[in-house]
């Protein structure tokens, strides 16, 4: 059973007068443990696709199965629980709470989780450690650099140990060095901890870290290629 299964998925935005079709029916499957990059120019529908996969928005037609169950069969509370425990989000604009410490930001999803409070601090600290920010634990989120903020966002996405991490242009607001660090962390999470990563990007250098690239153009899948071999080769080259 695939983790994510999408069949002729369509999304049409309507403001009551005009209808704008963003996705014209896309189909693919994503297995557990994959690192998939979804690429495409702006307006191609890649972000919309991610929002649909992340239960942040509702699709118009087609079918989306998550964990073997049709998305529409989940209740509102089920969906909140899935977002909380099975999905993690990393946004382009970080979306940290201002005037709140790194620790509190990372603990935010735990507030809505069934995880007992006694474990919160330890889990949050582990997540912060895995993005290498333990020296910033009690810093106010507004005092961090962009790269650090995005790493806090990753720690927050990680803290409930989700199956999938959705990253929507995570490097879009970062310089190449901190962007690289962010991608490295995502790769590590995929390789060492087996998190499924779905990364949206329009930069091909970023996409190259993925094992599989799905290209989208005008609401349709243009190509869907496995690049594992190539990435391995690059990785080895860098490591040496």
């Amino acid at each position: 059973m695939s983790l994510i299964e999408v069949e002729k998925l369509t999304k049409v935005y309507s403001d009551g007068v005009t209808e704008t079709a963003v996705l014209h029916g896309v189909s693919f499957k994503i297995e557990r443990g994959e690192f998939v990059a979804i690429m495409g120019p702006s307006g191609s529908g890649k972000s919309t696709l991610l929002h649909l996969l992340g239960f942040l928005d509702d699709y118009t037609a087609g079918a989306y199965k998550f964990d073997g169950t049709l998305a529409r069969e989940y209740t509102g509370d089920d969906i909140a629980a899935i977002r909380n425990q099975k999905l993690g989000f990393v946004f382009q604009s970080f979306n940290l709470l201002p005037n709140t410490s790194v620790l509190e930001n990372v603990k935010l999803p735990l507030l809505y989780s069934p995880i007992p409070e006694a474990e919160w601090d330890e889990r949050a600290m582990n997540a912060i450690r895995s993005v290498g920010l333990e020296h910033r634990t009690f810093f106010d989120s507004t005092r961090l650099s962009g790269g650090e903020r995005q790493r806090v966002a990753i720690a927050r996405a990680l803290v409930c140990n989700p199956e999938v991490i959705f990253a929507d242009e995570p490097t879009g607001n970062l310089d190449s060095k901190s962007g690289g660090a962010v991608i490295d962390i995502l790769q590590k999470l995929n390789k060492e901890f087996g998190h499924t990563i779905i990364l949206i990007t329009h930069e091909s250098e970023t996409a190259e870290y993925a094992e599989r690239i799905i290209r989208i153009k005008d609401g349709l899948i243009e190509s869907d290629t496995m690049v594992r071999a190539q990435r391995r080769a690059n990785g080895n080259a860098i490591n040496k």
């Binding site: 929002h51 992340g54 942040l56 928005d57 509102g76 509370d77 909140a80 629980a81 977002r83 909380n84 425990q85 989000f89 946004f91 979306n95 709470l97 005037n99 935010l108 999803p109 507030l111 809505y112 989780s113 409070e117 927050r156 409930c160």
Partner: protein
């Protein structure tokens, strides 16, 4: 989400906008404060009045001439002269009124008193020596008149403290003679100062009722009969005996046609306290209008807050907050805001009431006591919390219904 964390989150939301939160809550503060003030002062007034009525003694029954007036058009009844000497004699027979201990006739009227070049307007009470017991009036100087003085229509007078000061200043008053209605009265006693009372005895001259009827007021009837029952338990029996005796004496068969009225101290207290209660409730209701205005202010600012924090709401939803979580967060913010306002209002109201009570006792002769009704405090907290719930519900629902992605996109 555990309620402890909901409270923490809501508290944080309020703290971020501390100045705005405080300003918003001002409407509730003022509303609750005025309710507390009105209720506290109302209770103070009520206990003051009740204390004065109780000063008459819990066994006191008042018999009045004429039907008790039921409305303004009925006022003429007050001047009825139905209580005569014959009635008093009948009532004084022990077989007619076994449950009564004392029965004292009372007549009253206004008069001016003059001594040398000083004049003073006072109230004349024509009474008997029983007055001293029934109204518990300590004599400061001299003594009260006696039953012998009643028979003799003696022109003796016991004066209130203020009368003494006005006419005689700091001089000794006992033994001096002053004029009322063209007759010379000799002062035989001065009452101790009483302060504002049900009857203002400080400005009264008490003389034998026979003297008052014949020389001062020129009447043959009594205005009131003051009766003291044998015991508190017998007060209603005593009242009933009086009614029966008077009806027989006046040939009345239908109680609705009584040309006299009998009220007990309990009746009087009940009647007066219901008047103050109605007044208090009315004033509190007026004050409550400001609470509604305050509630609208809360709703307004909560709507602003929901819009401002659209992104935060989207984020929380994306991280797993349910509809209920968001609803609870914003409802709690509203309730905590109004609850806090209620609390401040209660403290301010109680403080103001205390200041007012203190000034009343300090600057007037009224024996006002500060009272703070717990019911008012509970009402204040309850009402302000309820206002938070009612006026917070709409903004909170608006927040909870936001679609996460639209909220996240909001700039």
């Amino acid at each position: 989400m555990i309620i402890k964390h909901s409270i923490k989150t809501a508290f944080r939301g309020l703290e971020t906008n501390r100045a705005r939160s405080l300003l918003t809550v001002l409407g509730i503060v003022i509303g609750v404060m005025s309710i507390i003030l009105v209720m506290s002062l109302g209770q103070g007034a009520q206990s003051l009045i009740l204390d004065q009525v109780k000063g008459m003694g819990t066994r006191t029954i008042i018999v009045g001439a004429g039907r008790e007036p039921t409305g303004p058009s009925d006022a003429a009844q007050i001047f009825n002269d139905s209580l005569k000497k014959r009635d008093l004699d009948l009532l004084l027979r022990k077989e007619n009124t076994p449950s009564s201990k004392y029965i004292m006739p009372l007549v009253f009227g206004a008069s001016s008193a003059s001594y040398q070049s000083d004049t003073f307007n006072l109230t004349i009470f024509g009474a008997s020596p029983l007055m001293e017991n029934i109204f518990d009036m300590p004599i400061k100087d001299g003594s009260f008149f006696t039953d012998e003085d009643i028979r003799a229509r003696a022109k003796y007078v016991v004066i209130g403290n203020k009368v003494k000061k006005e006419l005689f200043g700091s001089d000794d008053a006992v033994g001096r003679v002053f004029k009322m209605k063209g007759h010379n009265f000799r002062v035989i006693g001065v009452l101790a100062e009483r302060g504002q009372d049900f009857f203002n005895f400080d400005e009264a001259a008490i003389i034998p009722y026979t003297t008052a009827q014949d020389y001062v007021l020129g009447i043959k009837h009594f205005n009131r009969l003051i009766v003291e029952a044998e015991s508190e338990a017998l007060i209603n029996t005593a009242a009933e005996e009086i009614k029966l005796t008077l009806r027989e004496s006046h040939d009345i068969t239908d109680p609705d046609k009584d040309d006299f009225f009998v009220i007990t101290q309990v009746d009087l207290a009940g009647r007066l306290s219901s008047i103050t209660s109605v007044l208090t409730i009315f004033l509190a209701a007026v004050a409550a209008i400001s609470l509604v205005v305050g509630g609208i202010g809360i709703m307004n600012i909560m709507l602003v807050s929901v819009t401002e924090r659209t992104k935060e709401i989207g984020l929380r939803k994306a991280l797993g907050a349910t509809y209920k979580d968001i609803l609870t967060q914003f409802l709690l913010e509203a309730v905590m805001l109004t609850g806090l306002g209620g609390l401040i209002g209660i403290l301010l109201g109680a403080f103001l009431s205390w200041v007012i009570s203190n000034s009343i006792t300090q600057f007037t002769a009224i024996a006002w006591t500060f009272s703070f009704p717990i019911s008012a405090a509970l009402l204040g907290i309850g009402v302000s919390g309820a206002i938070g719930l009612i006026f917070g519900l709409y903004p909170a629902r608006k927040a909870a219904r936001k679609s996460p992605i639209e909220a996240l996109r909001y700039e």
